[in-house]
Structures are given as C-alpha cells and as structure tokens.
Assembly symmetry: C2
Amino acid sequence: MEHITDRHGLRQWRQRCGTVGFVPTMGALHAGHLALVEAARAHTDHVIASIFVNPTQFGPQEDFGRYPRPLERDQQLLIEAGCSALFHPPVTAIYAGQDQTRVRVEPLGSDLCGRFRPTHFQGVATVVAILLNLVRPDQVFLGWKDYQQVILLRKMVQDLAMPVAVVGVPTVREADGLAMSSRNRYLAPAERQQAVGLHRALEAAQTAWRDGERRVESLVSGARQVLASFGIGDIDYVEVRDAETLDPLPVPDQRAAQTRPVMLIAARVGAARLIDNRILTLE
Amino acid sequence: MEHITDRHGLRQWRQRCGTVGFVPTMGALHAGHLALVEAARAHTDHVIASIFVNPTQFGPQEDFGRYPRPLERDQQLLIEAGCSALFHPPVTAIYAGQDQTRVRVEPLGSDLCGRFRPTHFQGVATVVAILLNLVRPDQVFLGWKDYQQVILLRKMVQDLAMPVAVVGVPTVREADGLAMSSRNRYLAPAERQQAVGLHRALEAAQTAWRDGERRVESLVSGARQVLASFGIGDIDYVEVRDAETLDPLPVPDQRAAQTRPVMLIAARVGAARLIDNRILTLE
C-alpha cells in the first residue's frame, strides 16, 4: 500500500489507476470502516482511503484534541483490508492557510445534528469537496451510521454536479447491536452497557412500525422510553424523517404512511455523543 | 461548433477532447468575450464557451429579466472566434430544483461589490463550481474587467483544490477607453459620454501614482473628482487595494508603497451599474 501525504503524490497515483473507490475517514478505524473498504473493492479497481482528522468539523468544545489517532494500527488494518493507497495529509496540505471558501448545504446542514453542532456540516462538506477534488474518485463510500452526513454529501455532489457516485454502506454493529464508532472508546464499562439503548430504542420503533403504528409521536415517545430505561437522559433528538430527504414527515397529522421513514437518534452517554438510525420497514 | 444543452452531451464532448479551455459567459457577447476565446485558443486544444444567465447571481431588484439574450448573434460570434463547442443549458440543467448547496468565499465575497450585491458572489461561486464540475476544463478564462470575480474564483479553486487553472485576460476597451461590458447597452447617448469617466478616473490615479503619490486618500479623492467632472455622482465605491488579495492596504498610514495596488471603481450611470479597475504601475 502506498502512503501519500502531498497533493503531487496523489495526482501521480491517480493517473496510474483505473476506476477508483475512495473511503474518507478520520482514522481510529474499526470494522465499520473496513466494510467501506470491502464495498469499495467490490465496486472499483483501486481503493484509496484517507485519514484526516478535519479540524473544521469540530466545535470549539468538542473532542478534536483528544480524538484518537492510532496511525500504525490503522495502516495495518488498511493493508489487511486490501487498500491500494492511503492519503494521510497534514492539515497544511488540505488548508493552505488564509482559506476563505466554505461549502454549505442549507437548510439540511442546520437540521438534526446541525442544531447541536452549528458549524459541523459546513466543515464536513468543505473538506469532502476538497478531498474529492484531490482524489478524483469514481465512487466515494460512506457509512450509513452517519445518516445525515450521507444524505447531505449526496446532495452536495448532486447540486454541484461533482463527477462521483456516493455509495452508502450499512452500519456494522457490535454483538449486542451497538453501532460501531470511533467514539465508543470514550465509554466507561457501565456507559458501554447503557450505550446499547440507542439500538434498542430503534428496534422498539421498528417493531411498533411493523405492527402498524404510524403516529410519529408514538414512535418517538416509545423510543424515548427505551432510552430512559437504559439511563440515557441527555438526548439531543429522537426524530422520524423522510429517509430520502430527511424532511419532516407531512403535517398536520404526521402520519408516516406515505413515505419511507427513518428514525434518527443522537444522545450523550458519558463523554461520548452517540448517533444511530434505522429505516423503518414492513418486514 | 457543437451546441450542447444537456449534461450527457457535455460529458460525451469532454471525453473526445485533449486539453480544454473554458470561457464561461452570460452571453450578449462583445470583443472582451472574444478576447477570452482567443486566449483560450492560444493555451488549449479545444475551447468551449458557455452562455448561461445565472439567476442566482442577480439580486431581486437587479436586471436578470432584461439582461440581453441575443443567442443567434452570440453563436455566430463564437463560431467566427473559433470556439469548438457551446454549452447553453436551460436553468433546469444547472439547478435540478430543491438545490441547497452554496459555495461562499468569505469575507472576500462580502467586500467591494459584495457590499452592494450581498448574494452576488455566492451565486457566482456556486454556478462556476457547477460549470467547472460539468465541463472539467484544464483552464478557465476570465476577464480582468471583473477583477474581484477573478480573485474570488481563483481563491475558490485554490481553497477547494479544483483541478483547473484560472487565467485572467486583460480588459478590452472602446476607442475612448470605456471598458467593454454587456451592460453598456443600457446607456443612453448622453450617459455613454459620462461613462468614460470611470476610465478617466483610473488614468488620473495611475498618473498620480507614477508621479509619486502614495497616499491612498489622495488617489481616491483625485479619482472621485474626475468622476464628478463627468457628472457621475452615484458611486458605490472607489478603493485602492492589494492587487493579489484585494485586502486593504496597510494601515495606519495607508501608504501603498510596499505593495502592488489596484484601484477599483463601481458607479451607476443611468440604468447601468458599471465597474472598472486598473493596476497602478510605475511605467
């Protein structure tokens, strides 16, 4: 696997390749990331991953400084997963300094997680635009665990006519159902037991939906009860939205019958802010 | 010359070409635009121009509706100039509807013309990002008449690592010095006489600079006196800025000695909002 840190090396690598699949990450890799690499290998000739802990998508009170950066282990995992190249730039290779350009997707970027992380999605959209322009992949692979991120970046790519396909890859979970996340390592053992509450709450909503419940308020209150039963009280949101657009479901009756709904949850457990989601299906 | 109106046709054309030079325009072509085509022909194998009167760069009180659209004449001029292709999309081929993504370059986009046209440069940056992603040129050619636009788009391309070179092309002028502009046709005969005042004001600043005047305030007040002598009173701004960045010159003494300064003027003459600029040189 090639290890590339500058723009010039990236361009040279890109010119030698056939179709290219791109897996952008912030490192601290887990099985969810490796599923992205696997999906990319199945779809494209060459897979390049990036590891870049992007400062502009963290708020001033957030975990940029302590975000884990186990580079050697990450490299080993990518090699074993069959990655062709790793782009691992320093901050100065992405932001030349005095940069003024920001890509915003609004109102989507101010909704859901954007309500609690006001500059987050602007940082995500801008860095992904930069990475896509540098890597020039044919397809980019993103995990559905960050549901809003996938929808928002797909919208950006479509709106700006960027020549790349955005492919969402299913969430990988621990044995008990907890969605894999680099931030799970912030959880103390007791918190780890609580954290599975997000998954359980989504399962409860799915069961209710399958059994015919169509009232958004009931689905949400049922999920909140499950979170409470796991001792999770610091909830940013529990929402049911249109799975394609993340628009609110039609008011006034808020029935979700005509649409494909997704439930999304963000909650804080100990020092970790956790998110998870589930598309509600009839099966 | 090929006439392309949809994305698919554009992609097919692009795949057949060697190096591509791109001349984005809003049509109503004049000799300034043809100089862009000429520069593109000198630098690249194939030249594609676009004609797209972009609604998002006009303010609600501006001239979007009455902006001239002489398509047949424009096509003829492009053929005679040696253009290989024209991309002339309907609005729906650029904005699919429900678009949410905007590219902003701030604070530059809120400065100078942005103070008087608050959403203008956001519209320009976004549409040019879309056009560059669709056309995928090697070089894009822009007129220095729109000085702030060139600097801002060059910044966008650099900040987002877009794989294209931004080439500025010198302003083409009428015999008396008036900068060519599609909006000059809004001028009544008496206003046309006044309009040359912008050029004269810039020439006065150049003469003063060459003769040793280094005080920004004196350069500006001299230019304003010339504008007044031409009966131009509705002035948006007269500014002297750093020619590379458009930053204000160093305060507090505002001396422009250490830098390469540019004077920029925006003023209204009759129904036309006119802009012009000049780099101040020692020759």
